[in-house]
């Protein structure tokens, strides 16, 4: 089951994210962390407010040491790099130069999530005019994350998805026309498969309870004997 959704984008990605997250039915979801390259002087509160008027989940600016919460879209400003620690549950900000001309660095966010938490991570690379995100996506993919890339055929700036696709050829390519239902369907599917897993494991658990019960029959008999 997805425990976090990481989205990286640069020029042209605002519209794509708005489209991806605009479904009314998307009000219950894992934390979504959106990293977009921004100027240091840009006040990301404006971006956060813009998203709040477009999506139906809560929008918050990333704060150092904050625990990440479900049903929330986190927006990072351009002043710090953003990483996750505590097994992908908490933000950690870094003050450093841009890496490969990019700040916040999408690679860094992705690379900070490559531990055991990668398997419950959905990572998406969207429009952008450089190659940030490719290295991080490759590491996430190798660590077992579900990795998706916007279709370069229908992306305002295709350099970033093209680079990501070149680096991670087996990642899933999003449909040319991404609509607001894509993520809703993916999460519903994820929920159903998780419920199925829960169901299966419950059956297994109940079988094992039966097995245990039969195993302890002699004790019951003993207890019965006392009666």
């Amino acid at each position: 089951m997805y425990k976090r959704i990481l989205i990286g984008g640069s020029a042209g990605s605002f519209e794509q994210v708005s489209q991806l997250l605009s479904a009314e039915s998307l009000y219950h979801c894992p934390p979504i962390i959106f990293i977009m390259h921004l100027s240091e002087n840009y006040d990301a509160k404006n971006l956060c407010n813009a998203f709040q008027s477009l999506v139906h989940i809560k929008c918050k600016l990333v704060q150092n040491h904050d625990w990440i919460e479900s049903d929330t879209l986190y927006i990072a400003d351009g002043r710090y790099h953003v990483l996750l620690d505590n097994d992908g549950q908490r933000f950690r900000l870094y003050d450093d130069e841009p890496f490969h001309y990019a700040k916040p660095s999408i690679d860094l966010l992705f690379e900070s999530c490559c531990g055991s938490e990668a398997k419950s991570t959905l990572a998406i690379v969207l429009s952008g005019a450089n190659s940030d995100g490719s290295t991080g996506l490759k590491k996430l993919f190798d660590a077992g994350a579900h990795c998706c890339i916007a279709s370069p055929n229908n992306t305002p700036h295709s350099a970033m998805p093209t680079s990501a696709l070149h680096t991670v050829p087996n990642a899933e390519v999003l449909p040319d026309e991404v609509d607001s239902q894509w993520l809703v369907k993916l999460l519903a599917c994820d929920k159903r498969s998780t419920e199925h897993l829960h169901h299966t494991s419950k059956s297994k658990l109940s079988n094992s309870v039966h097995a245990s019960a039969s195993d302890i029959k002699p004790s019951n008999t003993l207890v019965g004997g006392h009666q």
């Binding site: 150092n64 040491h65 002043r79 950690r92 900000l93 003050d95 130069e97 660095s105």
Partner: protein, 276 residues
């Protein structure tokens, strides 16, 4: 974990063993990126080349790597709103204070200290002022002490200076010396007021009788417990009652304002008045 990640861990292990620098405070992905950048700027062939040179005892390379791993990002008048408030609200409080002292902790290559010094000079309060910049990184302290910057930094400085609301007759030209072709420095009065030294904020002693402590983008790397320890054992003992603490944008001390008698001046800006 891929090969280069493993090599980065080995490189950090060698650094820790050979020169007692422990970088466990920093996140591994950031250190990996810094090591990668170091390899590129040094023109080294690979991570293996760096590791082997360190094991063979290349002290110069070891020293340069430690400096590269501890370097901080800075520029003149970074986050102009902080400098605006320093000029408009903090400095007037100390207009008649003899021996005004400002301490910039984690000052890197000195841009922040000189930015404060320029504003103090514009208020005509520089004559009795001392600005102390400290950092763990000795290379950065050397740059700060020299106070000589490339001309492209002058554009950054001018743009920051122009963005502040200062009296109409404020002149940047009177504060800098740009006689050289490719570099510039500051006027004699500013250079004589600024002092720099290496200092480890987690281990070294506090200073005394400081009126303003600027500790921006350094506390953020510590755990919340360690942050409180640094405030309690280093920052507050250094401050005079009525002094000010300036922290970075990601370093909100508001949750501890009662504990430490710190009152935030404005919402959203991390400048605190110490009312002990």
């Amino acid at each position: 974990m891929d090969k280069d990640e493993l090599l980065c861990e080995l490189i950090l292990h060698v650094i820790k063993r050979q020169c007692q620098h422990d970088f466990t405070l920093y996140a591994l992905p950031v250190l990996q990126k810094r090591i990668q950048r170091f390899i590129e700027t040094q023109g080294l062939a690979s991570h293996e080349t760096l590791l082997l040179a360190l094991i063979k005892g290349d002290k110069k390379l070891e020293y340069d790597l430690v400096q590269a791993l501890t370097v901080h990002y800075t520029h003149f008048f970074r986050n102009k709103e902080y400098f605006q408030l320093f000029y408009s609200e903090i400095l007037p409080h100390f207009a008649h204070t003899a021996n005004f002292r400002l301490w910039s902790i984690g000052c890197s290559s000195g841009e922040e200290v000189y930015s404060y010094a320029m504003l103090i000079a514009l208020r005509n309060q520089l004559a009795e002022a001392a600005l102390i910049g400290t950092d763990l990184n000795a290379n950065q302290i050397d740059i700060a002490s020299a106070g000589v910057y490339p001309l492209n930094k002058l554009e950054e400085l001018e743009s920051g200076f122009k963005s502040l609301a200062l009296p109409a007759n404020s002149s940047l030209l009177s504060l800098i010396d740009s006689q050289q072709k490719s570099t510039f420095t500051f006027c004699e009065a500013i250079r004589q007021s600024c002092h720099f030294s290496t200092h480890d904020m987690t281990r070294d002693a506090s200073l005394g009788a400081v009126h303003v402590i600027s500790c921006r983008n350094t506390l953020m790397y510590f755990s919340e417990e360690k942050q409180q320890e640094v405030i309690n054992q280093l920052i507050l003992p250094s401050l005079v009652p009525g002094g000010y603490v300036i922290t970075g944008e990601a370093e909100n001390l508001e949750p501890w304002s009662d504990t430490f008698n710190l009152k935030r001046l404005h919402n959203g800006i991390n400048i605190y008045h110490y009312h002990a």
